[in-house]
Amino acid sequence: MFGLKDDWSYDMPERYFTLEDYEGGVARWCPGCGDLAVLTAVQKILRDAQQVPENTVCVSGIGCSSRFPHYMKTYGFHGLHGRPLPVACGVKSRRPELDVWVATGDGDCCSIGAGHWLHAIRYNMDMVVMLFDNNVYGLTKKQTSPTSPLGLKTNTHPQGAWLPPLDPLVAMLGFTNSSFVAQTVDWNPAHLQATLHAAWQHKGLGFVRILQRCPTYTDSVFEELQKDPSRLLLLTGAKQPALAAGVARIFVNQRDHDSLDLGAARSIASSAHERVPIGVLFQDESRPRYEDFTTVGLGMTPEQKLAALERELDRFAV
């Protein structure tokens, strides 16, 4: 960030941003909601990088978690339930220089927006997608979500959810188009921030599933995980988010993982019933990015456009 350099010189920044410069008012989530931790993590990432606020756009759908843009002091787009990804991709399509973050819930992303989810993976545009997975519909007051555990009692399934959940990680790793798939938990701020930072650094769509506590409706779903860190599997290795030794130490189960190894990533993700993996499961920056196609011709001048148009009209002339 700042400070004296080796040669004692000091660059005076024209603008200097503090956390406040990224804070858009008081977040109105329930006390104890995991969304707050994510908000703080993102603000810190931007502050640490001294990211210019007006160049960041936070796009969301509808849901508790989709309130996210309102609590950031950047540009924001709080759109329609299930549809943040097409909007985010559209923003990026002709303004590739903008820094785009997407906040989406498990209903937003994996149910109503599932079609867009798959295709956003395929477009692989350079953005961070944060899946706030609280295993339930929060805003509409406790309905079953596609990730609700079997038997979870909700207002639409008072006797308990009928079907086993779908696993967003297994789904994502099933596509050979994914370029970055990670998982983290809201209750470990260091891992959360490090993982989101890795997704942000990734060139392409950085997808992070965040296991997010909802104290109001799914108080118990992550209780065991939170109380017993041995249920988690910390992925380690050169390409994993850097964690302070003190933080890493709480995870008794660790596994060295090469995030380029899709086969290994799939097997780790499929064993989540034994140990829930956290870290970067898969990353491959060589996947094509859609903006490399949509931005062709961006710098064309009006003169060039008019000349091309004249030539095109001449093709229709008789």
């Binding site: 936070c58 924001g76 329609l80 990804l85 909007v87 559209g90 303004r95 064309m300 229709f316 008789v318």
Partner: protein, 631 residues
């Protein structure tokens, strides 16, 4: 471009066997893949080069690869040529070239021909080795003659075989030569057109097609005793020949829009096909989205980021875009939505024309969703409306819907060549700092208009939301905020309406009947009304282009006529249908709108036959109402 000497010479027939006509309609019908459409397009272009008015429309089979000689497989083209500009496909054809007899049945069922329509029919089927074909041919011949068609049997294919072995590919230019001879087309202009069409291929290909054209010309000279003269008008301006969807694509480029997000759907898709091939030349991009919801979402994303984008669709896709359209209204996002209408509801009539989406675009979103809606009446307007739409979208910070239809999408006609202007193009992004004292929705008290911050503008950071919001774009559920927001958005339409002039009445400013239309039926309505006026009927017409806000002054205009009737291609109950009656009659869409807006008892005449309206039918209805004329 001056009128050629040849055209001058053609102006008056020297030879008494030549029939001089004001207008003339041909069709070429065949199995698909026989090149009929290419021949017809060339015939139309040659006529346009000569200075004739032209309207060309393709006859498209229902299947992609129909079996040969099948009734449903009729593929081909209709070309209507006139001395004056031609604005529609007209009534029944005068002259038909048919490459087998089966393809005529479907056209007869569509009432495309009248008694006396001349058919030049390929006769090789008479000696086909298969008995079933010989029988079918003889049966067809008898049937067509019973219908009153004048059939000439001709050995087209064997004549063509003298010039080329490859008759399957070459026959169409032979037919073109024949038609050009019969209809007095300028052979020099025809050769130019053929050279232009095949110019990308080798010189040999051009020469071969010139040879086929000459052979067809000679064949007509020797064997077909029919000659028409359709005097052209002097060519005074540069012309382009295009269909409505190409015009849309060109208009989108001329508007400086850089992003078109779409999902394939007939009849809108061909506009995107055209654009996909050329958009890159002006730095633009066609995004084929995963569905229509994503397409409009993507366009909205680009628009929000400062690059006003366009999404193109037809009925079923429009239905899917509903929720995002509401968001664009609510959050005041400039956006151009082009709807190329087809028959509905549901999957409806995918390839056929209807003007059935008017009320859906006006009222199809929950809540109050005011937006600008414009309808193109001509191919030329398909070019110009996207340019206007982008500017209006940005000036009024609103979605603008441009309605066209399958008739415009597939109709081909000469239009004055547009002269692109620098100020048609979208201005470059201005990311100068935003005054933080100005809220993101600084609604002007009178007009409701507000400037908008673009991501990247320092000091303009705001969160766009589809929830009810204040000027600061803060979510607000209190009574006043929602009322104020709705009022601000509604005021924009009032402000825009204040800039519009009342539409012009074609014909006398008062009379017994005013025919009101919108969209692609302009040409057919005018023609019908002209005919009726020629017969002394007191009828005028008026065409509405701005449907939201509606053009001003309509009630005052309507008051000067004894009857007002819309003519539309959408459903209305027949007034005397059982169980309907005047109190409970569901009327055509523009009529419904006009009745509400003007409190005038506007009547309607409409159908959903999936066909462009014919001047003859409209004329008959006018005559019926006014008790005169022949019908």
């Amino acid at each position: 471009m001056g009128k050629s000497d040849k055209a001058q010479a053609l102006a008056e027939p020297k030879d008494p066997t030549i029939t001089r006509v004001e207008e003339h309609t041909i069709e070429i019908v065949s199995d698909s893949g026989e090149g009929a459409q290419k021949a017809g397009q060339a015939y139309g272009a040659i006529s346009a080069r000569m200075g004739n008015g032209v309207w060309t429309v393709e006859i498209i089979p229902a299947e992609i690869k129909p079996p040969a000689r099948s009734r449903a497989g009729a593929s081909g083209i209709r070309v209507r040529v006139g001395s004056k500009p031609v604005t529609n496909m007209g009534d029944e054809a005068d002259l038909v070239v048919a490459l087998n007899e089966q393809v005529l049945y479907g056209r007869i069922a569509q009432k495309a021909y009248r008694k006396g329509t001349v058919v030049l029919l390929e006769n090789r089927w008479a000696d086909d080795p298969q008995e079933a074909i010989r029988v079918a041919y003889a049966e067809g011949l008898r049937h067509f003659r019973e219908q009153g068609l004048v059939v000439h049997e001709l050995a087209l294919e064997s004549a063509c075989r003298k010039v080329t072995q490859d008759v399957a590919v070459g026959k169409n230019m032979f037919v073109l030569g024949m038609l050009c001879r019969i209809c007095g087309r300028d052979p020099q202009k025809a050769r130019e057109e053929i050279a232009a069409v095949f110019g990308k291929k080798s010189k040999d290909v051009v020469a071969k097609n010139h040879g086929l054209f000459d052979a067809g010309w000679r064949f007509a000279e020797e064997q077909i005793p029919l000659r028409f003269l359709i005097p052209p008008a002097p060519v005074t301006s540069r012309l382009c020949v295009m269909n409505g969807n190409q015009a849309l694509g060109l208009g989108i480029m001329a508007a400086g829009m850089e992003m078109v997000a779409m999902y394939p759907i007939t009849p809108a898709t061909s506009a995107s096909h055209y654009l996909a091939g050329v958009f890159g030349k002006v730095g633009g991009c066609v995004h084929q989205a995963e569905d229509e919801i994503a397409a409009i979402g993507f366009a909205i994303g680009a628009s929000y980021a400062g690059k006003t984008a366009c999404t193109i669709t037809s009925g079923p896709g429009l239905a899917l875009k509903t929720e995002f359209l509401g968001l664009a209204v609510m959050a005041e996002i400039p956006l151009v939505v082009v709807v190329v209408q087809r028959g509905g509801p549901s999957t409806g009539l995918p390839t056929k024309v209807e003007q059935g989406d008017l009320l859906a675009v006006l009222y199809g979103q929950p809540g109050d969703a005011p937006k600008i809606v414009i309808a193109a009446a001509t191919i030329e307007e398909c070019f110009h409306l996207p340019i206007a739409a982008r500017r209006l979208a940005e000036a009024f910070r609103t979605p603008v819907i441009v309605l066209t239809d399958a008739n415009l999408a597939t109709g081909v006609a000469p239009v004055p060549r547009p002269e692109p202007q620098p100020d048609w193009l979208a201005p470059p992004l201005d990311l100068a700092a935003w005054d933080p004292a100005v809220p993101p929705y600084d609604w002007d008290e009178r007009s409701g208009i507000s400037p908008r911050p673009i991501p990247g503008q320092r000091g303009g950071e705001y969160v766009l939301t589809g929830l009810a919001h204040t000027k600061q774009s803060k979510v607000a559920y209190d009574p006043d905020s929602n009322q104020n927001g709705c009022a601000a958005r509604s005021k924009k339409l009032a402000a825009f309406r204040g800039t519009l002039v009342p539409p012009t009445v074609e014909g006398d400013p008062d009379g017994d009947l005013l025919v009101v239309g919108w969209g692609s039926s302009l040409g057919a309505i005018r023609e019908a009304v002209d005919r009726a006026r020629g017969e002394g009927l007191r009828v005028s017409s008026l065409h509405v282009r701005f449907l939201s806000p509606l053009e001003p002054g309509l009630a005052a205009i309507f008051a000067r006529f004894r009857q007002v009737m819309t003519v539309e291609i959408n459903y209305s109950d027949e007034p005397d249908a059982p169980g309907v009656g005047p109190e409970y009659r569901r009327r055509a869409q523009l009529a419904t709108l006009l009745r509400g807006e003007t409190l005038v008892d506007v009547d309607c005449w409409s159908n959903v036959h999936g066909q462009p309206l014919r001047p003859g039918h409209i004329h008959a209805e006018i005559a019926r109402r006014l008790g005169g004329g022949k019908h």
